[in-house]
């Protein structure tokens, strides 16, 4: 009996099915609407960025919400993934079949971002405190600066590389410039589609939801709740912290590839500190430790600014206020106590018999 099976299902499984359901229903509705020609072109242009931001928000939620560490360099991982993935695509796009080249681009982008995550995570995650926040911030800036100063090209003599300017690369006249410093990568053949985006979102959800609900995921949340207690029951802190952080970085890289392959040009400036903060706002607004919330917040906050053009000047201001108010409202001990009192009063009103407290 399918109905009774649904009733007996574990709570997490049910919740996961709802999450996947939301994504798939969204996909089907958008496909039907665009098939019928009912969507505006500006909305269609937003579809791939929505998917990219959803993946970014979900993956950042793994670090912030479940591991309890703050990463301010999510845009840096996105940038590392985007540039490496797009490079693979521009190099192999002509020779290999499209699907294979795109797949390779995603693989390479994800791996590169993951490697960076690993390299940063090892020194930093051994320390307790707020070091990860500042180091990931630093990493984001390093990536941005290095790619901005990076010139890469190839000709018949092989690959040329310079950190100074285009001339010192020593490229022959028939050579091809791949990365042109602050101009980044130009003339990219765009291949990202909404379907690829949704596939990536579903993949991210499968991996991250499974990780959270596994033994490793319980270890990760145990570390978040009490590091010393977790360590004393034999949880390997560095291992599980790294596991969460690197997974998060890999998906940021994959989202970066998706994002990069959606535009004809790619510059490092686009992945700056502000982008990292924007992703953090998605996570905080959707609820730290709530994957479904991240999805909805990322999708809504990507679409809304397009619709509310007049508020563009105030958008970042509103983000800032959202961060402060959400934190004080959700985390301050006094506010939590106050909310409990309010909730109890409402319960009392609803129950017949007024304010009498039940004796347990």
């Amino acid at each position: 009996m399918p109905l009774s099976r649904l009733k007996n299902m574990k709570k997490t499984t049910k919740s996961n099915i709802i999450t996947f359901g939301i994504v798939i229903v969204f996909y089907v509705i958008v496909e039907i609407l665009s098939g019928a020609g009912l969507t505006s072109s500006s909305f269609e242009g937003q579809l791939v960025p929505i998917c990219a931001y959803v993946v970014l928000a979900v993956s950042l939620n793994l670090t912030v919400g479940f591991l309890g560490e703050l990463s301010l360099g999510h845009a840096g991982f996105m940038s590392a993934g985007a540039f490496s993935g797009v490079l693979v695509w521009t190099l192999l796009g002509q020779t290999l079949p499209t699907w294979l080249a795109v797949l390779l681009a995603f693989l390479v982008g994800g791996c590169v971002a993951g490697l960076f995550g690993f390299a940063i995570g090892i020194p930093v995650l051994r320390l307790s405190g707020d070091y990860l926040a500042i180091v990931t911030l630093a990493f984001g800036e390093i990536i941005k600066n290095v790619i901005n100063a990076c010139y890469l090209g190839y000709d018949s003599n092989g690959v040329h590389f310079s950190l100074k300017d285009a001339a010192s690369m020593g490229l022959e006249a028939d050579g091809t410039t791949l990365i042109n410093g602050a101009m980044g990568i130009t003339r990219i053949k765009t291949v990202s589609t909404f379907t690829i985006g949704i596939v990536l979102v579903v993949l991210a959800l499968i991996v991250i939801l499974n990780l959270i609900n596994s033994r490793a995921g319980r270890a990760i949340t145990a570390i978040r709740d009490n590091e010393i207690a977790a360590q004393s029951v034999g949880i390997n802190l560095t291992k599980y912290k790294l596991m969460a952080f690197v997974t998060s970085a890999v998906f940021a890289g994959l989202a970066g590839v998706l994002y990069g392959l959606n535009y004809s040009s790619l510059v490092a400036r686009r992945f700056d500190y502000n982008t990292s903060i924007q992703i953090l706002v998605f996570v905080v607004l959707g609820g730290m430790g709530n994957i479904r919330g991240s999805i909805i917040a990322a999708a809504l906050l990507t679409v809304l600014p397009e619709m509310l053009r007049g508020l563009d000047d105030y958008r970042m201001l509103i983000y800032a206020i959202v961060l402060i108010v959400m934190m004080i409202f959700n985390q301050s001990p006094q506010m939590i106590a106050w909310r409990k009192r309010i909730a109890e009063r409402f319960k009392d009103v609803r129950k017949p018999g007024g304010k009498k407290k039940e004796v347990a």
């Binding site: 912030v64 309890g68 560490e69 703050l70 301010l72 940063i120 020194p123 930093v124 051994r126 320390l127 307790s128 405190g129 707020d130 070091y131 926040a133 500042i134 180091v135 911030l137 630093a138 990493f139 800036e141 390093i142 600066n145 290095v146 901005n148 100063a149 950190l163 100074k164 010393i228 500190y273 903060i277 953090l280 905080v284 730290m288 000047d313 105030y314 970042m316 201001l317 983000y319 800032a320 206020i321 959202v322 961060l323 402060i324 934190m327 004080i328 959700n330 985390q331 301050s332 001990p333 006094q334 506010m335």
Partner: protein, 293 residues
Amino acid sequence: MQFLSYLISGISLGSVYALIALGYTMVYGIAKMLNFAHGDIIMIGSYVIFFAFGSFGWNPLVAVLFSMVICTILGVLIERVAYRPLREAPSLAVLITAIGVSYLLQQVAQLLWTSNAKSFTSVVGLQKITLFDGQLIISGETIVTILVCIVIMVFLTLFVNHTVPGHAMLAVSEDRGAAQLMGVNVNATISLTFAIGSALAAVAGALLCSTYPSLSPTTGAMPGIKAFVAAVFGGIGSIPGAFIGGILLGIIENLSKAYISTQLSDAIVFAVLIVVLLVKPTGLLGKKVNVKV
């Protein structure tokens, strides 16, 4: 000779970092939080001086003092409204709030004064010094910056080690609960820390913008982050550490700008942070603290 000139301007930049890092390191030591908004208080302070001195033509010293007062009020207000409710909350919540405050200040500044850079008039009236037949030129700003930084360092060290409020600060940074039991007013001490840090930020802003005269809402962000790197470099929580870390970082940044690459100097500064954390996570002068359960 050219090397010496780069070195001296590096020390000058480092002095500014040291002043900012003092604010970070004191707040971190006493309130155990990373005040991301510290860099943006510098920016607000610089705008105050810009209008008071540049537009209204006040005496530069009065303008700087006025900016110190405004920044002190702002710093204490931010602590009271945004950080104090979260004092018992997880550190992640405080960190995110601090980022929110930093962003808020930047955005308010952008709405009030637009994102266009304003050209800041130097508050230093000292003539430049020419040495070795014009081979070495030291600007007045450089001299004043280094001197001001040294004077403030000395006074701050004396204040912390030899006055009652200073001892209260040390006690709170050592053990907040025990300090409270001994009759130290923890809230007042934390407010005092924010007040001192913010006043120093105003001074740092004046000196920073006098040397690099371009003022925009994001002016404070990068020096703020670099000053935090300096604080970690020197050992977070340690006042002499902030000084040494700041100076060293300023020298590293200026020399790499001169001899390696202008574009990559920021990347090199941040790479220093990662190397420090790898080799000596407690910084140059930091103490290793054992966590007791």
